[in-house]
Amino acid sequence: MPRELAKHPHLDHAESIPDQTVKIIPRTHTPDTIDESHSTVVRHNRDNTMIDFLLNGQPRRCEASPDTSVLELLRDALGQTGTKEGCASGDCGACTVAIGEPDADGTTRYHAANACITPAHQLQGRALVTVEGLARGDTLHPAQAAMVVHHGSQCGFCTPGIVMSLFTLHESQRRGDGERPAPLTPQRLEAALGGNLCRCTGYRPIRDAALAMGDYPEARPDWLDLAVDATAPPQEAATEAAFVQPTSLAALIAERRVHPEAPIVAGGTDLWLEVTQRLARFPRVVDVTRVAELTALEEATLADDRVGWWIGGAVTYARLEPLLAEHYPAFAHLLHRLGSAQVRNRGTLGGNIANASPIGDTPPVLLALGARLWLAGPADDQEIAERELPLDDFFLDYKQTALNQDKACEGEVIRAIFLPRPEAGRHLKVWKLSKRREDDISAVLGAFAWRLEEGVLRDVRLAFGGMAAIPKRAKAAEAALEGQAPSEAAFAAARAALADDFQPMSDVRGSADYRRLSAANLLERLRLVVTARDQDPTSNSAREVMLDAYAH
């Protein structure tokens, strides 16, 4: 997942997260904004631009620097302290708020987000709902009332965030698009609440509140249905210090031509940690979430006749989910292990790739599926230069990608990712190993694609995360399996070949030994899956080779 501080697992022993006594690591395309004079001076208004949005139904106009978070805006500027800071890294959910955006038919739809790592300027023209806004006078919202009745709060510090996650769940239940509300299965509850840590209750009463809130009489502020379409237009580059929100690829590339050093933000699920954890200052930020081309998701046929979809670089995991659920359930399942609802609502596939973390979760899957990238950047002649390349060619070395390999690529962005349509007979398995099942970063992730043709394995692609400095295919292991029957001997050779493919390192998530052993064991699991499938694909009596909760 793209939530990794710029940290190489291999370097954990050496550096970990720098503290105050260690100089900040300069970002590749950000000037080092931390100089002595800047770092200690209270920001001046010249750096700031205005944000127009609705706060709990009331129009607000606020001034904030480009690197202000929604949480800082609420707590510091507006004095709204109901929303809490628990970690300032998007991992605990105490700061959960709901952000309303117009959907295709203009209705306002609310999604949960971590206010601590959401840029305040992304509220431009949006509706922000916080825990203070939910009660209608003295009447609590069902999410709140159910929490009280079911003893869902103890210390109460995580409670505002829990209530907001329950609120967005309640909204999606009542919306239903004319259909019945989907049943609140354990999986759905987990998907809605997995991003909210509670240290006191053990979650049982919170689950009961979630299950019960639908039975409460509707008590919901009327202003929730206000349209948020055009409170204010997005912010184009107005000043030198700004939060820039281009709406077209042309405008984005024009901005990149002038300010290639300005960081790009979409979900902010990784970038904003630079601000909250490393105290980075961003005098200028480019928001790609409103670039039409980058938010498009369309079917396409490549030059080589492969069919599939071009997924815009700024398409969120949440938007991607229905497509994956239909075509790649294993991939869709991974999204739930990759990040919480708050992260899935905001994190993007393009961000996960461009961030190039060795433990990003989607790149190994995309490598196994043979994905391609469509890059766009400024050309010499005021035009847009575009190119396409296989994802295999994108990751070069630790945090080095085709985007930043040389001066010629300066200002390039990921316009879209090509996801091929599943082919008949081709299988995909995605297995992620982490200390905690939900919302954790992988120790090892294996993504395996293959066909079984006349008893032998074909088109075997085995990609791993957490095993090298980049997400990487296990070419030697692939070769050991390609064209072979799925025999114990072939897989033993593949497991042995992993030693040629990878020399993993020890870090906070796992030791090198564990990584080596578990990666090899994932291939053994693959053999058990392939052969079970081979013997009797419909058999229910097949012996369990993994746990249900992890099987995908």
């Binding site: 105050q20 825990v131 003295d138 003893h151 103890q154 053990g202 120790a443 564990y514």
Partner: protein, 833 residues
């Protein structure tokens, strides 16, 4: 009387807690089915609602007194308090190395940086520089020796939180600090072998342990590492200090021990204690992490506040909080026990080595408590228990729910599994054989275990209700046929001693005010950290005064209301403070009754003997001669009759004593019991596992509030499960914490709630001691129920050896540790076919 609170209780009351689904079936059948499905699987998911006493008095499942404020965001935590316009914000500079010397610190240069209002370090402290809570050893700032990575070098004050943090970074970048690094001691066992302790070793001994070990038919031994735990209170350490017009300060702090912070702040400032007032309204979680380790921040902020004459706020960002504060002590435990052919312990020795970090803090008492619980619920026979307190270059490890008890229990629970495999019996059989029983009821520290019958009944009831033996047979059959996925099952009991082992802390005070409108305000020495203490205290007062719960308002804990208080710790909050509040109520009642007997004399006197307060009335006499006087009238009349409507209460726990010279005594007023059955499913190829079902039966005596008590049991269990499974603290080779945020330190989340989670409070067994309404403490004991999860994981792994061996499984038992244990068993199996 008038309604006194304007809380919007309307909605929950209007909400149909039990109302059947009113939506049409066809619209909602799936949802309803899903819910029914879930509910069917989770029995006991609702609190045991015993609304027998009405009025919200003690014994009823009332909601948390702040519940509505929690869900609306109105409950204020330290960082939410409105601050004066000139408030300063502080940030800390922390040592990047675990051991060394601070050779240069140029604070003048720091003060000259733009935006910096003040900078303070060791030499700026006017009073005490050592704030060790019990024993010296905790410097407020590094003077010379650096003892852990994260130790505070200096603090910077600026006009905003961000500016202060940036200033610290800028200061370090421009080189105001020079450090001579030295090799760090990071191995507690090696430190103990070198004799490097923060406190002397303590021994408890009963009988001739060596002889009984030598004579026993079988000797079983083992060792284990039990990992530490980060508190991960959701609200980090925080305080806000304002200067007074005198020489003192008012401190708002997220803190379990306001009186100690008052004392330390006064000593650091060099002023009398009466110049310092400490207030705690609530904490966003404490768990022991704010017992001693909330004080330094208050001291630093107070120092800046007095120097500048301005308010000063210090809150720690999560990463700094995790690096600078101590954690649950990691322990290295060893045991050698002699057992008979039936697996019953005859005697032996147990050694527990606590990794205390660099200073004593509370480690003496914590390692003591590990020793007091090295028997858990089992008789050790003739045994010696030795506790060592190793000094290492880590943050000073501190109190955490259970206070060493869980780490001590782990060693005997490991032994139970090991003995079972050795003698070829089911672990539950061995556990039951070893439980304290008549004739074997004396602990290794000389206390006789009471309520042994309750312990046995509790274990047997859970054994039956959880279908332990049926499941055992199913699981054995499943495992025999399943090479990769293995299931495991375990039942483990808990016996936890209740009282501070430092005798003087077992006291409490309360202050009760009745105002002329009849509304009641109660204050006491305990602090609210989410455990529902304030709710329980309000219930006690409502019960004693016969009032509706809404008539009783609790106020923030303040050192100027109830002085010289003990920490809210050791599960003692309700036991001690509830008794003190009750004492205040009883005294006031007596006064009011005396007054009423005299004053309401009209023709004939009220019957003083049977006088009582109930349903908002003073009631005298019975049946025909019953007289009822409304509470409001009583109070008004008493006021005009010049009767004091304020009272203080006090309580000190009787009977307890412990002689540290002999290692014998009765340190605990009573024991709380419980037991849990956990079932797990383990993928032995990947080390992944799931906790599939948990059954708990727990003893709280006569519950003060079943909803709150059930919440403590469930929350404690899940927190304990996190400690033993996913919560892994990792330091790099230099001793620097690298799991320093929720991205790398994984506490349980929603999906870790077991799909089957049956929690029941044991009923019909009031406390045998005269505790508050015969209730029992509930904060810590349930934490250790989670040992069942760890034991079930070992059980699943043992199936790889056909249950001939219980593999060593250090904690936390992460997927990595589980996989490596499975791999070791497999490899051994291959080499010895």
């Amino acid at each position: 009387m008038r309604t006194l609170t304007k809380l919007s209780t309307q909605a929950p009351e209007a909400a149909p807690t039990q109302t059947p689904d009113t939506r049409p079936d066809d619209l909602d059948s799936d949802a309803a089915a899903a819910r029914r499905d879930l509910e069917g699987r989770i029995q006991g998911s609702g609190p045991v609602a015993r609304e027998t006493l009405g009025q919200g008095g003690a014994g009823s499942a009332r909601a948390h007194e702040s519940a509505i404020k929690h869900v609306t965001g109105r409950a204020a935590y330290i960082d939410d308090l409105k601050v004066p316009a000139d408030c300063l914000h502080l940030a800390l500079a922390l040592s990047p190395v675990a051991h060394g010397r601070l050779t240069r610190l140029d604070l003048d240069r720091v003060r000259a940086l733009p935006g910096v209002v003040d900078a303070v370090g060791f030499h700026e402290v006017p009073g005490h520089t050592d704030i060790g809570p019990v024993f010296p050893g905790d410097p407020l700032f590094v003077a010379d020796t650096i003892s852990y990575a994260g130790q505070v070098l200096f603090a910077v004050a600026a006009d905003s939180h961000r500016a202060a943090r940036e200033a610290v970074k800028a200061a370090c970048d421009v080189g105001v600090v020079e450090i001579e690094e030295r090799p760090a001691s990071l191995d507690a066992v090696a430190a103990a072998e070198r004799g490097e302790f923060v406190r002397p070793t303590h021994v408890q001994e009963l009988g001739d342990w060596a002889a009984s070990l030598a004579e026993a038919p079988l000797m079983v031994e083992g060792e284990q590492f039990v990992g530490g735990q980060e508190h991960f209170y959701l609200e980090g350490q925080a305080c806000l200090v304002t200067p007074t017009e005198d020489e003192g300060v008012v401190v708002h702090t997220s803190n379990q021990h306001p009186s100690e912070t008052q004392k330390l702040v006064a000593e650091v400032l060099g002023v009398p204690l009466h110049a310092v007032t400490v207030e705690v309204r609530r904490m966003g979680g404490g768990f022991g992490g704010k017992e001693t380790q909330a004080s330094p921040w208050a001291c630093i902020a107070a120092l800046v506040s007095r120097r500048t004459g301005r308010a000063a706020k210090l809150r720690l960002p999560r990463g700094e909080d995790m690096r600078v504060t101590g954690k649950r002590h990691p322990f290295h435990n060893r045991y050698r026990l002699g057992v008979d052919a039936q697996g019953v312990i005859q005697g032996g020795e147990i050694t527990v080595v606590g990794d205390c970090g660099y200073s004593p803090d509370l480690s003496d008492a914590i390692v003591d408590r590990a020793m007091f619980h090295a028997d858990n619920a089992y008789s050790l026979g003739q045994a010696r228990v030795t506790g060592q307190r190793a000094r290492t270059h880590f943050a000073s490890n501190t109190a955490f729910r259970g206070f060493g008890g869980p780490q001590g229990m782990m060693v005997i629970e490991a032994a139970m599994d090991d003995i079972a495999r050795r003698v070829g019996e089911d672990p539950l059989t061995i556990r039951k054989r070893n439980l304290y029983r008549p004739g074997r009821e004396t602990t290794h520290y000389g206390q006789s275990v009471e309520q042994i019958g309750l312990l046995h009944e509790l274990v047997e009831r859970l054994e039956a209700s959880s279908n332990y033996w049926t499941r055992r047979r199913e699981i054995s059959a499943f495992n025999a046929a399943s090479p990769v996925v293995k299931r495991g099952l375990a039942l483990t009991p808990v016996k936890f001693g209740i009282s501070f082992t430092a005798q003087h802390l077992n006291q409490a005070g309360a202050l009760l005010h009745v105002y002329t409108d009849g509304s009641v305000q109660i204050n006491h020495g305990g602090t609210e950290m989410g455990q529902g203490l304030h709710t329980k205290i309000c219930q006690v007062v409502a019960r004693e005064l016969g009032l509706d719960l809404d008539a009783v308002r609790i106020t923030a804990t303040r050192t100027d209301k109830v002085p010289n208080t003990s920490p809210t710790a050791a599960s003692s909050g309700a036991d001690l403070n509830g008794m003190a509040a009750r004492d205040a109520c009883l005294r006031l009642k007596e006064r009011l009754f005396d007054f009423a007997a005299e004053h309401f004399y009209q023709g004939h006197a009220l019957d003083r003997e049977g006088m009582r307060l109930e349903d908002g009335h003073l009631v005298a006499g019975w049946g025909e001669s019953e007289r009822r006087i409304p509470w409001g009238e009583l109070v008004q009349t008493a006021y005009f009759g010049r009767v004091s409507l304020s009272e203080k209460g006090f309580y000190a726990t009787p009977l307890i004593h412990y002689d540290r010279q002999t290692g014998q005594g009765r340190p605990f007023y009573y024991y709380a019991f419980g037991a849990a059955v956990a079932e797990v499913r383990v993928d032995t190829l990947s080390g992944e596992y799931r906790v599939e079902g948990v059954d708990i039966l727990h003893d709280v005596g006569d519950s003060l509030n079943p909803a709150i008590d059930a919440g403590q049991v469930e929350g404690g269990f899940i927190q304990g499960m996190g400690w033993l499974t996913s919560e892994e603290l990792k330091w790099n080779e230099g001793g620097r914490l690298i799991s320093d945020g929720p991205a790398t330190y994984k506490i349980p989340t929603f999906g870790d709630l077991p799909p089957r989670f049956n929690v029941e409070l044991m009923e019909g067994h009031p406390n045998s001691m005269a505790s508050l309404y015969r209730s029992k403490a509930v904060g810590e004991p349930p934490f250790m129920l989670a040992i069942s999860v760890w034991s079930a994981l070992r059980d699943a792994l043992a199936s790889l050896t056909s249950y001939r061996e219980a593999p060593r499984l250090d904690t936390p038992a992460t997927p990595e540790r589980v996989l490596m244990a499975a791999e070791a068993l497999r490899r051994r199996g291959e080499s010895t076919p």
